[in-house]
């Protein structure tokens, strides 16, 4: 559905501030995938996501949506931006209208929909993020941190996008707020078949939610594969300062100390890890009898 072909991006080329932020990055994201885009600050991941809907134009290479270059003449950028919704970091800073409902109507309004349709879409979007009627007439500034963020996501959903790109949606939230927002994203993915790209620097988040992981480092795509497979590269991931989820690290320490575990255990979740560790000990005890 979305394809990056040899994308390069250079900030302020031919000036003393020239910075080569993205270097020859290629990948394809299929409809309905849940992908985590990982990397720390300065790895190029934020620059990369501004390419998804044409906010940045590649210095070289191309970005394709359903097979067509998004910068070609026959493509309407307006349409691309409603089909590929980006939720930026701290999206609540972009809430500006006098009421929650009006704020969420902003996207559909820009798409040229009638007032009735705008409201219909906004209400549906608010319902899907768990904000009921009692929120419609509230000022966005009266909401809690987590609620503001959900309202901001509703603003993007109201455009009925095919793909949702989220830049660190859990940043600054407490554990409860984080679980709520990520749970919501997972639900949207499962129930509506939305394609999700989750930008994160939390390995645990990626392990818990994503099917596939793309790791960026110094502007280069370093790893790209199924989540479990990427996290087998523990050493390289540690070296670039990202690390692996806690459970994966525990298994790798145990293996280094001579304990053998089957290859097909679930190392990514606490529940799966606990099950594998339990089976392993019981098996050993059994062996002694």
């Amino acid at each position: 559905m979305i394809e990056f072909r040899n994308v390069d991006y250079i900030y302020e080329p031919e000036t003393p501030y020239e910075m080569h932020a993205v270097k020859n990055v290629s990948f394809t994201i299929e409809a309905g995938e849940f992908v985590a885009l990982l990397g720390h600050t300065g790895s190029g991941k934020s620059t990369l996501i501004e390419h998804f809907n044409g906010l940045l134009k590649p210095s070289s290479g191309s970005v394709l949506f359903h097979g067509t270059d998004i910068f070609s003449k026959e493509v309407s950028m307006k349409e691309i931006r409603s089909k590929i919704g980006i939720v930026f970091q701290y999206p609540e800073h972009q809430l500006f209208e006098s009421t929650v409902l009006r704020d969420v109507c902003f996207g559909p309004k820009n798409m040229g929909l009638s007032e009735e349709e705008q409201k219909e879409r906004a209400k549906a979007a608010l319902t899907s993020v768990g904000l009921d009627e009692s929120y419609y007439e509230m000022s966005p500034f009266e909401l809690s941190g987590g609620e503001k963020r959900r309202a901001a996501i509703a603003g993007v959903l109201a455009m009925e996008p095919e793909a949702l790109i989220l830049d660190e949606p859990s940043a600054g939230l407490d554990p409860r707020g984080r679980d709520e927002i990520l749970g919501l994203i997972r639900k949207l993915w499962q129930e509506r078949g939305l394609t999700v790209v989750l930008v994160s620097h939390s390995m645990d988040e990626a392990a818990r939610y994503a099917q596939r992981v793309i790791v960026m480092h110094e502007g280069v795509k370093k790893f790209d594969g199924p989540t479990r497979e990427v996290f087998t590269h523990a050493k390289e991931l540690e070296e670039i300062g990202l690390g692996v989820p806690s459970t994966v690290r525990i298994f790798s320490m145990l293996r280094a100390r001579g304990e053998a575990f089957p290859a097909d255990i679930d190392e990514l979740s606490v529940e799966g890890a606990a099950q594998a560790l339990l089976t392993h000990v019981l098996h050993k005890e059994g062996g002694h009898v």
């Binding site: 525990i250 320490m253 145990l254 304990e259 339990l278």
Partner: protein, 284 residues
């Protein structure tokens, strides 16, 4: 005498209607009594709205008690004449580094505090150099704060407080907006200041992994202190922490799940290494 004494502290926020009369009250702190010893590293953990930031602002006299008392070095925050001395002794670092930077050059940023309290010029520069060294930012002395990373900005903010020669630094979620590398930098700096300079650290956070190495963890919920002990004891309350909207370290959670299933793993496991050692004993 403890460095910080909090006695039966209550704090209420008021909501006003259009005519200016009180239309609602929210009790943010309810009868909090705590004392913090000089030289300790104390973490305060709680979800948003638990009252932890309100508590922090009391120690620095940014808020005054609705009821009860807060004393820093024996000075009561209610005593307007003592407020400047309290703020010198107990410096504060906030969540968003960008909101705290005022100067164009790092060294001027750090000089701002000491200059305000009338330190002689020569000594100011001495303090600036010293503070930069203690947070490991000497190489950035003449840089613009704009171009620093989040972690570096927070270290500059900490240096600004260090230059005031405080006895205590209170940090209100200083890492909430940082990436993992920035978080590690800031945490390392705080532990060094605590160990080498004996500065008391009060770290407000909702990242439980930042509290594992603290001397003491205080858990707040709904304006009250609900747990207050060394980390290994606090984190053994797995169910309680979860029900209060907090995480426990993964190693602790894993040990807990396995204990529930009958494995004899000890209480108080916090790190992955501790878990691995305890688990290997079972495999023998």
């Amino acid at each position: 005498m403890a460095l910080i004494d909090i006695l039966h502290l209550f704090h209420s926020f008021y909501r006003y209607d259009e005519s200016g009369s009180v239309s609602g009250t929210k009790a943010a702190l309810k009868d909090v009594t705590l004392s913090i010893e000089a030289g300790s590293f104390v973490a305060v953990l709680g979800h948003n709205g638990s009252g932890k930031s309100t508590l922090a602002k009391h120690i620095n006299a940014l808020f005054l008690p609705s009821k009860g008392d807060v004393k820093v070095n024996g000075r009561n925050t209610r005593d307007a004449g003592e407020v400047l001395l309290i703020r010198r002794d107990a410096g504060m670092v906030f969540q968003n580094p960008d909101n705290q930077m005022i100067a164009n050059v790092v060294e001027e940023e750090i000089a701002f505090g000491p200059e305000n309290i009338g330190v002689p010029t020569e000594e100011i520069w001495e303090r600036v150099g010293d503070a930069l060294e203690r947070v490991g930012m000497t190489a950035y002395r003449m840089h613009s704060p704009d171009r620093l990373s989040g972690g570096q900005k927070q270290r500059v903010a900490i240096a600004g407080v260090v230059a005031m020669k405080p006895q205590c630094i209170i940090l209100d979620e200083p890492t909430a907006m940082l990436d993992p590398m920035g978080r590690r930098e800031v945490l390392r700096t705080l532990h060094e200041l605590n160990e080498k300079e004996k500065i008391t650290i009060l770290l407000i956070t909702h990242h439980m992994d930042e509290t594992i190495d603290a001397d003491r963890v205080i858990v707040m919920d709904d304006g009250e202190v609900v747990l207050d002990d060394v980390p290994s004891v606090v984190f053994s309350h797995v169910e309680e922490l979860r029900s209060r909207g907090l995480d426990v370290p993964v190693a602790t959670q894993l040990a807990y799940e396995l204990r529930q299933k009958g494995l004899e793993l000890p209480d108080g496991i916090l790190s992955e290494e501790e878990f691995v050692e305890a688990y290997l004993k079972l495999c023998k």
